[in-house]
């Protein structure tokens, strides 16, 4: 009888893994994506339910209570949160996965420090899971604004961080060699600390890379835990974890590389470079910024044949996406073609701008990637930049600039550029934006929501 239950459970895991792969595949196309997450969701539900029937489990009450507490908390929190808080939500739920992986490794290490291979794999899962949860929580706090999103650079950072990591790993190796669980406490404490120290010096604008990498890391940690479980009494759950975890680790790594490439920086530079902590000095930009008022800007756009809107993090902060939708609709009723140019790392997570514009109800057919839209700028009458800075900075084409080589949206090629910006300050990278000083560029100062609101009311008058 037990044997048949085990076969049934295994069969369910196989189907679940298949559904994960198909679900992930479906997530890469806009028309199939929703079906994809549904497949994966159903598969997950069944996989969790059948695990309860695994022979030889105890502590059922605790398991049920834990699943209910965690499940309801996650469900409720994700339901009620504002759409603008999505980057930190992704970060925190990812952190929970990393924490679970670290905790599973701890249980495996405490209960079964007999076999060095298994223990080593568990410890590796513990290392990566700990870094993932600690780092994700820091990312969450930064994105939520509970700690500053500026890089927090501590003195002798590289030395201290490396020391924490090395000593932490040392305790891990001790516990493995001596098969002594006593060393596990300092091991975990130091690795959690390392995750915190690693993430503190990373600034807000680099969060797309950070969130994406921690997501991949959690996947790897889950996979490693799976490796450790396959040798145990209930090994088949381990295979499911190996596949799903590795799948996420691989796809997440790829996404991380895409994000880093979109900034022309290496992942290592993002994590260890403390980018944006210092400002570029000594580069004088000729010309001056020319302010424009909302009525002139509105007229300029109303008589354009094509307007391209380039949103950035400033739009997200001001929650201006609804106003932007209104503006786009108004312009279209006046016969203006409106398109959106989206930079891959605009905002705080991969694809952030697309999510916000979709929330406002803007059809995704009007959103264009950098590669698709760049050729259109020279023939465009007006480009409206809303709270974006570094991703439109032509300094990227200038030798010696810290942004040199970053693929940007070439908005400076357009006939006219209107930039909505709160003040005259520099972007996240701390670099003067040559664009603002160009002859074809006009500055519309103000909070993105108010400024776009003014444009809308001026357009209604016109």
């Amino acid at each position: 009888m037990t044997e048949w239950i085990q076969y049934a459970i295994d069969a369910v895991y196989v189907v679940a893994v298949l559904a994960f792969v198909l679900g992930l595949k479906a997530l890469s196309g806009p028309t199939t994506a929703r079906r994809g997450i549904l497949y994966a969701g159903v598969a997950m539900l069944i996989a969790v339910v059948v695990t309860f029937f695994s022979p030889g489990l105890s502590n059922f009450a605790l398991i049920a209570i834990g699943v209910m507490i965690g499940g309801l908390a996650g469900w409720y929190w994700a339901r009620v949160v504002q759409m603008t808080a999505m980057p930190q939500m992704v970060a925190i739920f990812n952190g929970m996965g990393g924490g679970a992986a670290a905790a599973i490794a701890a249980v495996t290490l405490l209960s079964g420090l007999t076999d060095h291979a298994t223990a080593g794999l568990s410890a590796a899962g513990g290392v990566i899971g700990s870094i993932s949860i600690a780092g994700s929580i820091i990312a969450f706090l930064k994105l939520q604004g509970w700690i500053t999103s500026k890089p927090i650079v501590l003195p002798a950072r590289q030395v201290v961080n490396t020391a924490v990591l090395v000593v932490g790993l040392g305790f891990g190796i001790f516990s493995l060699v001596q098969l002594n669980p006593l060393w596990l406490l300092p091991f975990y404490v130091l690795l959690l600390l390392y995750g915190i120290l690693l993430t503190l010096p990373i600034g807000g604008a680099d969060m797309p890379v950070v969130i994406s990498l921690f997501n991949a890391l959690t996947g790897v940690a889950v996979g490693l835990d799976g490796f450790a479980l396959v040798n145990g009494p209930l090994g088949d759950a381990g295979y499911a974890m190996v596949i799903a975890g590795t799948l996420v680790g691989a796809s997440g790594s790829l996404l991380t590389l895409l994000m880093a490439r979109a900034m022309n920086r290496s992942v290592a530079n993002v994590f260890f470079g403390a980018f944006g902590a210092t400002e570029e000095t000594g580069v004088a930009v000729a010309g001056q910024m020319k302010p424009i008022d909302a009525s002139d800007a509105a007229v300029m756009m109303a008589y354009a044949s094509q307007v391209i809107i380039v949103p950035g993090y400033g739009m997200a902060v001001a929650q201006a996406q609804q106003k932007v939708k209104e503006l786009a609709d108004l312009l279209e009723t006046k016969g203006v073609t409106v398109k959106f140019g989206i930079h891959p790392v605009a905002g705080r997570m991969p694809g952030h701008m697309n999510v916000l514009l979709a929330e406002a109800g803007i059809d995704y057919g009007k959103l264009f990637d950098r590669d698709e839209i760049n050729a259109e700028f020279p023939s465009t009458d007006v480009v409206l930049v809303i709270g974006a800075n570094d991703v439109v900075n032509p300094a990227a084409h200038r030798a010696g600039s810290p942004l040199q080589g970053m693929p940007i949206l070439d908005v400076d090629q357009a006939k006219n550029v209107i930039v909505i910006k709160r003040g005259q300050g520099k972007g996240f990278a701390g670099i003067e934006n040559d664009l603002f000083y160009r002859d074809n560029c006009h500055m519309l100062y103000g909070d993105a929501q108010q400024a776009v609101g003014k444009l809308v009311s001026e357009l209604k008058k016109a």
């Binding site: 030889g56 249980v107 291979a117 959690t218 759950a237 499911a240 590795t246 796809s251 991969p350 109800g361």
Partner: protein, 100 residues
């Protein structure tokens, strides 16, 4: 090293290629759902957490296993709801304006 570990290693290798193949050439539009969706998929950690708590024998192991189950369950439901909410906004058919 036990045979099971080798089997798992082969499986993991194949999974790396699958993960790479499945998401290469994904449009920027879907970067968030893809990341959020894969965030949900590593929620499979809950299965491992249930097993870990299920075989825990002393109070310390039970406590850690219990925390693992709570965190794993949050990962699963939170990851699912976030992904589903984002995808609902991309759904052309359910929008007020209809397809354009």
């Amino acid at each position: 090293m036990a045979a099971d570990l080798w089997t798992a290693l082969f499986i993991a290798l194949l999974a790396v290629f699958t993960g790479y193949e499945v998401i290469s050439r994904v449009p920027v539009l879907l970067h968030t759902p893809l990341m959020s969706g894969s965030n949900f998929i590593h929620g499979i950690v809950l299965v491992g957490a249930i097993v870990a708590l299920g075989i825990a024998t002393n109070p310390l192991e039970q406590a850690i296993g219990f925390v693992a189950v709570i965190m794993g369950a949050m990962n699963v439901t939170g990851g699912y709801v976030v992904t589903e909410r984002i995808l609902a906004m991309f759904d052309r058919t359910k929008r007020k304006g209809g397809p354009s």
